[in-house]
Symmetry: C2
Subunit: 187 residues, 2 copies
């Protein structure tokens, strides 16, 4: 997926501003399983996914929770590093070999201060992510685990194909055993 397409999907930008963004990114590739961002560090880069699929997860000593999947067109950001310049709470792991567009946070922040269109583009991005996250929080309470799985199956069948079920279960807020039970009932 072209970077230009990714930009436009977030929010329409004037050609001049788009060019500034395009000139700021650099293509990089990483192998499957690569650990792109690590919790506890202040990340200085963000990425956009040209090709591949990744997961963000948070860990405690005895648990690990996948709370986000990213695929073609989406932005990979350690939110707390990006927003507050503090160590992030998430690890990001590549679930497939990935082609990414890399962008230095500092450079983006500079564009935010300099170009009002890019500032509003960045605002739109955060707002759209906010809505998605808020809706997930609400749906988690309204719907049973089984309903949430069926919905994922309906709306993102590709994720079920491309991602192992342990991660899907974690994303849905249940254990792998529970997900297995749910899948058995649907047969």
């Amino acid at each position: 997926m072209e970077f230009s397409t990714i930009i436009d999907a977030i929010h329409q930008l004037p050609e001049q501003s788009k060019l500034k963004l395009i000139r700021s990114v650099q293509e990089v590739t990483f192998p499957k399983g690569y650990s792109l961002l690590k919790a506890g560090t202040v990340e200085t880069r963000i990425y956009f996914i040209k090709k591949g699929i990744v997961r963000a997860y948070a860990s405690t000593p005895d648990n690990e929770i996948t709370f986000w999947f990213g695929k073609e067109g989406q932005a990979i950001i350690s939110m707390r590093s990006y927003v507050e310049e503090l160590p992030g709470y998430e690890d990001i792991e590549l679930l497939e070999a990935c082609e990414l567009y890399e962008l230095k946070t500092e450079q983006l922040q500079h564009l935010f201060e300099e170009d009002i269109h890019i500032a509003n583009w960045g605002r739109k991005f955060a707002e759209q992510e906010l809505i998605k996250t808020e809706e997930r929080l609400i749906q988690r309470q309204f719907r049973t685990a089984s309903e949430r799985y069926k919905e994922l199956l309906l709306n993102h069948p590709d994720l079920i194909q491309r991602i192992q079920l342990g991660h899907i279960a974690s994303y849905l807020g249940i254990t792998q055993v529970s997900l297995s039970r749910i899948r058995a009932e649907l047969k």
Copy 2:
């Protein structure tokens, strides 16, 4: 709480830009129990809380989920109206008599297009809300209902005092009966 203080808490703004915002708001008051925003409608205003406390909830025919509390200093926004100009999914109810600063969305959008500092201020606001929501989503999975209650008690003791437990339970993702059980264990 002064509107100027609320603005600064989100992100520092130059005096000029701050004045533009201040000139755009209007103080309003509503009684306890007032339904400020309604789900299914496109809201054209946002509010900042000078005094009082409110809750945002989403409803299905047989259920109602409180997913957000707002108190002094916070913004009341129907997210989907604000971001996508589509009907919102939340109702907002005043849990106390409130003094609010009212701002027309259209006017704010206009300031976003015109003043880069305000655009970045709006970006910061969305980003901060995004982090809070994402952290709640993660915590809901890491911690038991009991731990989540203790944490709320620790970090927001005022909410427990000012809000009835049915709403707190819903916010924590459990039933009121469950919350009552948890409270009984802590005695």
